[in-house]
Amino acid sequence: MNILVVEDEQKVAEAICSGLEAEGYEVVHAATGEEGFYLALSRDFDMLLLDLMLPERDGLEILRSLREKDRQVPVLILTARDSVKDRVKGLDLGADDYLVKPFAFPELLARIRALLRRGRTDQVLRLKQGDLEMDLLTRRVSREEEEIHLTDREFELLEYLLRNAGHTVSREMLARDIWEEPDRLTPIDNVIDVHIARLRKKVDRPFEQPMIHTVRGVGYVLKEPAA
């Protein structure tokens, strides 16, 4: 998978590029709009990360030109402008997703995974990580063959962690995807923490090795216990 990152802010670009490389993506970086546009046209990428405020050629302009030339590469916009107007404009011009700075890196990774996965509908009926299993049809959860009873919210939470197993999920992602908070400002971080704590009590406490880990300052990750 190769990704073109068009971003003029050097520090942000470096962080994104090395983060993506660590995840196993091949990354090409363009520091100006002109360069980004040239690269996007001349080479094939699986995905474009596009900053909006760029020197030489505006991000929205690049997007428009690309779509006019019928390039269907998925485009994820990264921007500090988060008014509804900007968002709608970006999506109207054919962006596939929109992420407002400052964003959490796990969130970026999750969006990229989602965009790259798009089109391939993998209907999963069972999620499994180590000895933790979840049946999405019967809504049964078990660890080491032992059934665990979860509330609806806890079930959704665990499903989300399992689907993103091995990847960190931020509180913002949980707030948006599980609690369906439209606004990142509503103070429900505490609520999330309490639910995670309760989930741990049921999923981790009775067993030897914990699977749900806190990544301080970022969020949570569910990992198979190291053998």
């Binding site: 988060d82 008014s83 400002l185 509503t186 103070p187 309490v194 300052g217 970022v218």
Partner: protein, 458 residues
Amino acid sequence: MSRRPVSIRVFLTLWFAGAVAGVLFVFALGTYSLVRLNLDHRLDERLADQAEGLVNIIRDNRRSSSIRRDIDDVEESEILPLFQVRQDGEEFFTSRDWRHVGLDEALGDVSVDSSWVWTSAEGRRFRVHTLTDIHNRTHNTYAVTVAEDVEAAMGTLRSLEAFMVGGFLVGLLLALAGGYFLAGRVLRPVDEMATAAEAITARSLSDRLPVRNPDDEFGRLAIVFNQVLERLEGSFEQLRRFNTDVSHALRTPLTALRSTGEVRLQEGGDVEQLRETIGSMLEEADRLRVLVSNLLALARAESGDMAQQTEELDLSALGTEVTESLAVLAEEKDQSLSVEAEGHVTAEADRDGIRHALINLVDNAIRHTPEGTRIRVRIFRSEQGDAVIEVEDDGPGIPRADQERIFERFHRVETEQHHPAGAGLGLAITRWLVSMNGGRVEMESVPGEGSTFRILLG
């Protein structure tokens, strides 16, 4: 630099002078006509008298010769310069001046008593009066014609005209000068206010305009202006405090971020320690993010640039949903969190906004009341018809000193317990969200007994 209100002053002066000129003109015209009429009348009377006098002289004499002699005397006395007497249609006596002027041409039908005006070839105008009489002795018919130069008789009128033109001009000049002076006097307070207002800048907003007489128009203007200044000063003060608060609020997490990083860099450490430090720094970064997003949201709310989707909102359901969502927090603190709805209460409002506002209030109640307390959420319709969501707790209450300012940005109530979360923006945001939906937030609090926050939607 003082700018004079020249145009208004000139405008007033011209209006004033114009009015005075109009009055003077009408008055002069009236006087002139009256005097003229009067003079005309007197001239007529005089001529009639003179003609009659001549006729009487003729009557008093028995013979034509003595008549001629007496008339000759009349001419010599120079009382009557212009006259002619005709006997039976023939010229009988003509004064020298008459002949000199050539008044014969003025004569028309002298057999009838009449009076008319004749204009000579040189343009002189004469009033002419004829009286006829039949002598009771001689039975001759005498026609006496007297005339007088109108211009000479109207001499008074000429000097009146001169006086009036002069008086008019002098009056106009006086009116102009007086008007200019008066207008300047009247406008002086405006000028002073302008000068004073110009001296007022953002730095000296505490200055006020002088109010000379609070009851006149300018006094009222100055008072209103001062009230505007008062409000401006208030908002400037707020803004200044806000800026200080923002810098302070930003500086705290920034300092933590920086010193944590610096200390770790200096001390070094193993991977686990580095992870801890980076995590701690990320937490501070997140605090900064929340703070900046909140400030941005408030700025948008204030400039009205916020997406609103108004719908028929079921407040009872919303209250239940929010309470259930936050119930876990109350459980952790062993608090009882209950919700009761009196009937089906709805309001036209933006769902996300009101939900956010309510979450803020309930979250505040849970955070600021100790363990084991009771928090009640009630949804009802007030007697005034407002849809009300009420969040009531029996916590420590809010100190009286803080009650006034609790909805201001960055205002935090100092308590013994330290609540690390929150920058003091929650209630400000709550109030904005509700007011954007045309509602208001009320607060009642008795220290030691508890607080009640109410969202009222019209």
